[in-house]
């Protein structure tokens, strides 16, 4: 397998998974907003920061200038081609990558991604409006899952497939940690400081919903949502496929199927160790921000090790 093709497969599945999570995140944000009482409002800023789009956002909306309304923020996150992290751009990247590995992936996959891209292009004007947003986001999430399903159902389990799996796993671990980070930063800004505690639970519930984890959480923990248990579930659950630990364990299962490279194994061990050792209660106390930052740095290091070992040849 060519290094370039392996890298493109890996990034293709990363972008695909990123697009899906992004749509989920925006979806939960808009849902949550509908539920909030007048005494609180939804804070989009942490979400923009989570997605690494703060620089572009500030460039477009310098502090002191006119700040966009909700529809403006949503458009920025979903369809703004200037924002390199927007859904539009993420899907475009996936599509470009798929073009360059067209000979390796099933034809249906190309058709599905192309469809999704054209749909997003055609929806630029109305994605901001509340009425269509739900429909739009649902369609995006469905399309992404459809491509994943096509890959799982129809691609031979050769080494290329392992790079697809690697990309999905590392992207989900990364997105989950970012989404936890967002929740910790506070998605809800109460007008009265004392109300903060009351909204805390609601926030974590939204985060669980965002990662399609709420139902599984209830089923497996049989308790109401608390910050500590939600964090425990999203970070360390061994069975929920979007938890950080689950994704990292998956990577551990993939590595033996690939040419052995020590730096990759070391980088994985480091981040796995951090997650194992993490005590949700303590992480919450000291503020999850710092811990999640560390996790992301370690995931980056793993990505770097993969690049060094497989993608540069």
């Amino acid at each position: 397998m060519l290094s370039r093709v392996a890298a493109n497969l890996y990034w293709f599945s990363r972008y695909l998974r990123r697009a899906e999570n992004l749509a989920r995140l925006v979806n939960v944000g808009s849902q949550l907003q509908l539920d909030l009482p007048r005494s609180a409002r939804f804070a989009w800023r942490p979400l923009i920061e989570t997605l690494g789009a703060a620089d572009e956002f500030d460039r477009q909306h310098p502090a002191g200038g006119k700040q966009p309304d909700e529809a403006g923020v949503i458009r920025f996150l979903l369809v703004d081609p200037e924002n390199p992290q927007s859904l539009h751009e993420v899907v475009r990247q996936a599509r470009e990558l798929q073009r360059s590995v067209r000979e390796t992936l099933p034809q249906d996959c190309w058709v599905a991604i192309n469809d999704l891209y054209l749909y997003i292009e055609a929806s630029t004007d109305r994605a901001g409006s509340r009425r269509y947003r739900q429909e739009f986001l649902d369609r995006v999430i469905d399309s992404c899952l459809r491509v994943s399903a096509l890959l799982t159902a129809n691609v031979s389990r050769d080494i290329g497939f392992q790079f697809l799996r690697l990309g999905t796993a590392i992207e989900q671990a990364d997105m989950t940690s970012r989404i936890i980070d967002t929740a910790a930063a506070g998605l809800i800004q109460p007008r009265i400081e004392d109300d903060a505690e009351a909204f805390r639970e609601m926030q974590w519930m939204s985060v669980l919903q965002c990662l399609a984890a709420y139902q599984m959480y209830r089923r497996h923990l049989r308790q109401r949502v608390s910050a500590e248990l939600a964090l425990q579930f999203l970070l360390k659950d061994r069975q929920f496929p979007r938890s950080v630990l689950f994704c990292l364990t998956r990577i551990q299962g993939i590595l033996p199927l690939m040419p052995a490279r020590r730096p990759v194994q070391l980088a994985l061990n480091r981040v796995l160790g951090s997650v194992f050792d993490a005590d949700p209660a303590r992480v919450l106390k000291t503020g999850p921000g710092a811990f999640m930052d560390r996790l992301q740095v370690e995931l980056d290091a793993l990505d770097g090790a993969l690049r060094q070992s497989y993608f540069t040849g």
């Binding site: 397998m1 060519l2 290094s3 370039r4 392996a6 470009e96 073009r99 360059s100 067209r102 000979e103 034809q107 190309w110 080494i159 790079f163 690939m258 040419p259 497989y310 993608f311 540069t312 040849g313």
Partner: protein, 481 residues
Amino acid sequence: MDWTGYRSPTWDELIGHDGQPHTAARPLVDYLASLSRGELAERQLAADVTARVMGVTFTVYTEGRNVDRTLPFDLIPRVIARAEWDRTAAGLRQRIQALNLFIGDIYGAQKIVKDKVFPEFLLKDSVNFRPQCVGIRPPLDIWAHICGSDLVRDGDGTLYALEDNLRIPSGVSYMIENRMVSKRVFPELFETSAILPVDDYPAQLYDTLAALSPRPGDTPVIALLTPGIYNSAYFEHCYLAQSMGVELVEGGDLFVGDDDVCYMRTVYGPRRIDVIYRRVDDMFIDPEVFRPESLLGVPGLIRSWRAGNVALANAPGAGVADDKVVFAYVPKMIKYYLGEEAILPNVPSYLCHDDKERAYVLDHIEELVVKPANESGGYGMLIGPRASKTEHAQFRELIKANPRNYVAQPTLSLSTAPILGDHGPEPRHLDLRPFVLSRKDIYVTTGGLTRVAMKKDSLVVNSSQGGGAKDTWVVDTEEAS
């Protein structure tokens, strides 16, 4: 489909001047006659859908954007009788054999120049002559492993060679896909007629490439080098790589080590490459030797090739014979190298570097087709009878300024075949591009790619300029009767 009233202004590939189909085309014509307009439209739709689903596209670069287009496909095949095809194939074999001897001679002893059969000055200012290749002897002494020759038929029914594409001829994937489409659309005809298959090409190409490996005995590692996804023929590159089971690589995937061996970068580490089917032009293939700014090539590739560590198909420099002026000398080459008369006639050419011929061209420009020696894709040419007075004058000046760069040919009355028009069959001009593979023996495709001008009266069949394609059937009439 109603054939009454179908008349071609010239020779037609299916229907004779008397309105009766040629023998080889009769089953097809009769069959089409039995279909209603609705049934035909339905099949054309099925053909279009099949082509789109199979992803048959080429890329057009317009207004700063790349657009994937499907090549227009006309349902009605072009039919050639086997006996005629066998003769034509023999002519193609003879041509390519002489051309390979010519290229080898030009980069070697230059006997043909010393014997004054081919003028030296033509070589000196040929843009496709690569001095860097002088003295090199590629495996089997073959330079042009893959050749796509364009054939046209004149109003009297004679098939002529129009040009030989020895650099990076494209279109063979359409030939194969067109057949897949027409098999789906006309399965009945394939059951009852002896239509010779074309799908052997990828296997033949693989054998051609494998024969070049510098490590005979071991399974060769073969790659197809593409300029990348924005190239107009990227679809074909993918298609051929996939159907041969070889790697599809870009310049950045390859490097040449200090040992002058060419490697590709894989997830397992560097892996040696033996043969490269390059679909990147000579000038971009190695920035160390040719255009230094090229990002499409591989630094050191020519070094590795010269050392015999990697084989390149086609060999750099093969394009020296892919020149419309050199083309005019092919019958002389056949005589010189093989001692034979050309089986396949050349379209007569007037060479503008010759004073007498130039004078004729300047006088008769309104009747002639004038072509620059080294353009492809139908660009930069003048079709005398269709051009304005201003254009005539402009080309007269161009010719006077650079006579060696221009060739003129009589305007042939290009043959037609029916396409499925809105109101029944309509005649459209076409040509034929067979593909010829050279190794120890020479392989010629059965038929080739038929390119057809979809616009009424148009003579330009190039896909970049609104041309389409048809399936080409070589039909064994002996067997069928």
